[in-house]
């Protein structure tokens, strides 16, 4: 059974249709990369899958209708890493990660051994166990990002939705995070992450979903999605794409000339 099954999903924000007829299914242990240019609808799709924005169409989590699930039920099935990394109060990193255990606890229950173990594992996994007593608001951007991902890992849901989790991370931590996601999927967790780094997406994801203007234009293994042709059409870039040991290598090189001309022509029509 798929962890996430979306069909005919549409959504509009402020009168603009931002998602159109999306169909997507994510199975157990899959690592899906959500790619597409700015404004393609990546974040909106993730939000819609969590019921954070109104949408039409079907969304099923673990075989159940999202709109019939209670908020607490939802939290036990899916964890979310938002793009927004604003932390309101100077709580400690450990307290922040422990928030991920909240959906598993009763209203007045204290932290059980399982909770402490999950928090500990998440701190280790994201390489922030040394920061545990620091105030979360004092962390650097990359450290904050890792703490927030650790919070979602501590939630131990079957499905992890992450909105641009690698943004702001240094190369070592980008690769480390990809490794964490791959380890998680090996253990059966499904991960859907939106990302802009096509090189990382190509090397690490099992499957890529390419969005353009609120529609899915390609869905498949990286080699099938990241073709020079599609990249030129959707992103308007030329890219160096080659198979190598350990996966696909994608390196955007320059703007595609045709793409720019098209855009200029488009501007003239609108203007």
């Amino acid at each position: 059974m798929s962890r996430l099954a979306v069909s005919n999903l549409s959504a509009s924000l402020g009168g603009n249709t931002v998602l159109k007829g999306i169909a997507l299914s994510v199975g157990p242990g899959e690592f899906v990369g959500l790619i597409g240019p700015n404004g393609a609808g990546k974040s909106t799709l993730l939000r819609a899958c969590l019921g954070l924005i109104p949408s039409s169409g079907e969304i099923q989590l673990a075989g159940r209708d999202l709109r019939r699930m209670t908020a607490a039920d939802l939290a036990r099935h899916v964890a979310y890493v938002a793009q927004d990394r604003d932390i309101a109060w100077p709580i400690t990193v450990e307290a922040l990660v422990d928030l991920g255990r909240q959906p598993h606890r009763g209203a007045f229950a204290r932290s059980a051994l399982a909770d402490q173990e999950a928090v500990e594992a998440a701190l280790q996994r994201m390489d922030i166990d040394k920061l545990r007593s620091r105030r979360a608001t004092d962390l650097s951007g990359g450290e904050k990002a890792r703490a927030l991902i650790a919070r979602a890992l501590a939630q131990q849901a079957d499905l992890l939705l992450a909105d641009e989790p690698v943004a702001g991370l240094d190369p070592a931590h980008q690769i480390a995070l990809m490794q964490v996601f791959r380890d998680l999927t090996r253990q059966g967790t499904s991960v859907v992450a939106s990302m802009h780094d096509l090189g990382l997406a190509a090397r690490w994801c099992d499957r890529l979903v390419l969005l353009e203007g609120g529609r899915i234009v390609a869905d498949g293994p990286p080699a099938a999605v990241l073709t020079a042709d599609l990249l030129r059409r959707v992103y308007g870039i030329e890219a160096y794409v080659t198979e190598a040991a350990g996966g696909l290598i994608v390196q955007p090189t320059r703007l595609a000339q045709a793409g720019i001309e098209q855009e200029v022509a488009g501007d003239n029509i609108h203007g």
């Binding site: 969590l50 908020a71 604003d86 928030l99």
Partner: protein, 333 residues
Amino acid sequence: MTETARYRLLIVLLAILVTSLFVLSLTVGPADVSPWQGLAGLFAGDDSLIGLVMREIRLPRAILGLMIGATLGLSGAALQGYLRNPLAEPGLIGVSASASLGAVIAIYTGLSALLPLALPLMALGGALCAVLVVRLMAGADARPLSVILAGVAVSTFAGAMTSLALNLSPNPFAAMEIMFWMLGSLTDRSMTHVWLAAPFMVLGWLMLASLGRALDALTLGHETAASMGIDMKRVQRLAVIGTAASVGAATAVAGAIGFVGLVVPHLLRPLVGARPSRLLFASALGGAALLLAADILVRVVAPGRDLKLGVLTAVLGAPFFLVLVMRARRQMA
């Protein structure tokens, strides 16, 4: 010492402080009664003058100081957590201004002269109207910013109507009475006021106290909290109605007392590891301590001059607010 142990110690210390200030409040007043005589008179249950002064004047005053202070501290902590803003306070959602307007209407129309309970009842009605309007204006998306905007609009309107009543007041005594009432005070309150306010306050406390987990989750923002199983519509309902019931009742019996709800959570936040859930109970105790202390101060500093409690909290609170704003600006720069 772990954070949890430190939190427990803080609660115990605050509880001791509140108890001491409560007892001290009972022993301060214009009547020439020694502390020991007074406390003995309180429990004697006879009809002696001392017993009457203690039971009918000082006890309600101390109880109201405790309850109103706790209300202001708790609702301040809850609103700051809900709105994710350290500058939020109960007055922000329009409750205080609307409760004041209700009371002013009662004085202006002479209703309060006919029926003493009309004033607090009208004030409560004003607070409830404010909640209905704020909830309607804030809309279905339950975003904190819409609540702030709606609250500011309601506050401004209620303030304008209050000014209008003062402006048009045909009778200078009514205008005086309105002014005096708006300054906020615990002088000459009776047990009737306590019984009138208590049910609404307790109801509001329960609603606000149930927000702990939601406020913790809101540390990470509206969307993350919603993804963690927090029903944001329910949170908005509890925060707004809980504040209206408790602060509305407080304003109804004591007038507008500002800044306690702003200052207390801010002072205690570093001592509870900044966790919004822990700040709730600590701020309730801290608010009670601060208001009891302020009410003792107005009686000691200017005996016989009837220095208003709301004036004192504003005089001490406003400079504090300025420092807060300046520090927030420096952090943003």
